[in-house]
Amino acid sequence: MDYRKVISDYAEVPGGVLEAFHAVQAELGYLPKEVIAEAAKVFKISTADAYGVATFYSMFSVDIRGKNVIRICESAPCHVAGAAEVVAALERELGIKMGESTPDGLFALEFTECVGQCQATPVITINGKPYLDVKPAQIPSIIAEYR
């Protein structure tokens, strides 16, 4: 992917750095150093400020991570609905801990706060797509969709 082209598409958008980061991350899965440096140039801010933006928001990652980002909600409604058991099932299925990525680069496991699907807790999202009322037993088949 030519990240320079992607970023330059947003050059004329006021305050468009977040939009540019979203667009790059949709392709690369994270925001490499050179993307941050390029964004700083295009949006005429310091590299430090561009890095500040990239690290402020929990959905942006400046570290390389698994291609499919699995996020599990740990807010109170999911917490009381048994999110901890779902976390354990995910860690078991993928053989990694929360915050890690699988060695094959396929999956990243992250905590998130509320994703606004609280009618059916606990909730996980994979690449932004919500899975509702998740039971630990369903985890292997959900993961299989992305293998």
Partner: protein
């Protein structure tokens, strides 16, 4: 009482949200047409008279807010819709945007006409990428039909920051910066986005506007509690039979929401507590359940209406464990700009973890109470000011639960 009344969700299930003609067939965009035949000042007066108050949590009189931006002299003004619905247990704004996106666009366009804005932004949280698509479709349809006139709306997506629900943090984020709240004053209606007069309204607030213009201020003001008229969308989570949403007049009581609409507590268990307004709300005991879900009535019992989230806990739940999780949430979501919040949320979480692990004492409880009080008046924005509320309210109403865990 305890009947649903759908105003902001009036088209829920009745229309295809991706078809503007469906919305128009239900009388959509008629209110905007009507508003444009009125003097802008008259539109603002109508909204003021309806006594519509912000549905995002702060409860400020909507028409009054608009009048500040109307009076401000500037070459450019903005209407911003706060769709950064991050309050855990809340999904009302998603329901409105997913099922009736045009009502939001119409509400924004009426506001724009009233204050003299040509440009609007919807700041939608990054957790709702599918909602962003629906909104973009709706905007392009509205442009094609020409219903918005010369008012332009753009959707921007957040990237996972609870604090961006605070209006000045949201503005910072729209400007492409870290979402850290600004010092106030100046308030956004005088100096907001790119330092221009800006109205930031919640999705649910804006969804009320077309109906108020259509049916009139008096009609609206007569619904529910007069100091906070209209309806509130509540979303029920936790230990309640009907884990779903309802839109009810504001004179509906918490008890009616949980027992009549919510169907009570599952498995014949007893009620323990309910947290209203999202994760920064107070935990409310059984004795206060007859309080109406209106702004001032909730304040009177030391609670908040907030976003309208209703999180129910049954008798088997551990209050201290739940509040510990909540304090960890605030530690994570504090933006770090002001010391009372950055340090305070971390220490609150630390004290809660200690007590939850059975290692705490009366001394820790006293310290937490004192810290919470200081945070409530010294933090820069609502996040830090409200963060200690779950701890303080449970210490007040469920002290025995804490004492049972003392070392």
């Amino acid at each position: 009482m305890a009947e649903e009344l759908r105003i902001v969700l009036r088209n829920y299930g009745k229309i295809d949200p991706l078809k503007i003609d469906d919305y128009i067939a239900q009388g959509g965009y008629k209110a905007l047409e009507k508003a444009r035949t009125m003097d802008p000042q008259a539109v603002i007066d109508e909204v003021k008279k309806s006594n519509l108050r912000g549905r995002g949590g702060a409860g400020f009189n909507c028409g009054q807010k608009w009048s500040f931006a109307y009076q401000a002299q500037a070459d450019e003004k903005y209407v911003v819709c706060n769709a950064d619905e991050g309050e855990p247990g809340t999904y009302k704004d998603r329901l409105i945007m997913e099922n009736d996106p045009h009502t939001l666009l119409e509400g924004m366009a009426i506001c724009a006409y009233a204050i003299g804005a040509k440009k609007g932004y919807i700041y939608c949280r990054g957790e709702y990428p599918y909602v962003v698509e629906t909104l973009k479709t709706a905007i392009s349809q509205a442009k094609e039909k020409g219903v918005l006139g010369d008012f332009d709306i753009e959707v921007r997506m957040g990237a996972g920051a609870y604090v961006c629900g605070e209006e000045t943090a949201l503005i910072e984020s729209l400007e492409g910066k870290r979402g850290e709240p600004r010092f106030k004053p100046p308030y956004p209606p005088s100096e907001g986005l790119w330092n221009k007069p800006t109205i930031v309204n919640n999705v649910e607030t804006l969804a009320n506007i077309p109906v108020i213009i259509d049916k009139g201020a008096e009609w609206f003001a007569a619904i529910g509690v007069s100091s906070y008229p209209g309806t509130k969308v509540v979303t029920l989570t936790g230990d309640v039979n009907n884990r779903t949403f309802f839109e009810v007049p504001t004179n509906t009581t918490i008890r009616e929401v949980i027992y009549k609409l919510g169907g009570g507590i599952p498995a014949g268990k007893k009620f323990k507590a309910v947290q209203i307004g999202g994760t920064s709300g107070a935990f409310i005991p059984e004795s206060q359940l007859d309080t109406p879900i209106a702004f001032d009535n909730m304040s009177a019992i030391g609670a908040t209406l907030g976003s309208g989230a209703v999180f129910v806990l049954d008798e088997t739940r551990e209050i201290v464990d739940t509040v510990t999780r909540i304090m960890e949430f605030f530690e994570h979501e504090s933006c770090g700009k002001c010391a009372p919040c950055r340090e305070g949320t971390a220490r609150c979480a630390e004290l809660m973890q200690k007590m939850n692990a059975g290692l705490g004492s009366q001394k820790d409880l006293n310290l937490l109470e004192k810290l919470g009080r200081v945070m409530s008046y010294s933090c820069l924005c609502g996040l830090g000011q409200a963060a200690p509320t779950p701890a303080l309210s449970t210490i007040k109403h469920f002290r025995a639960d804490y004492e049972a865990k003392f070392i």
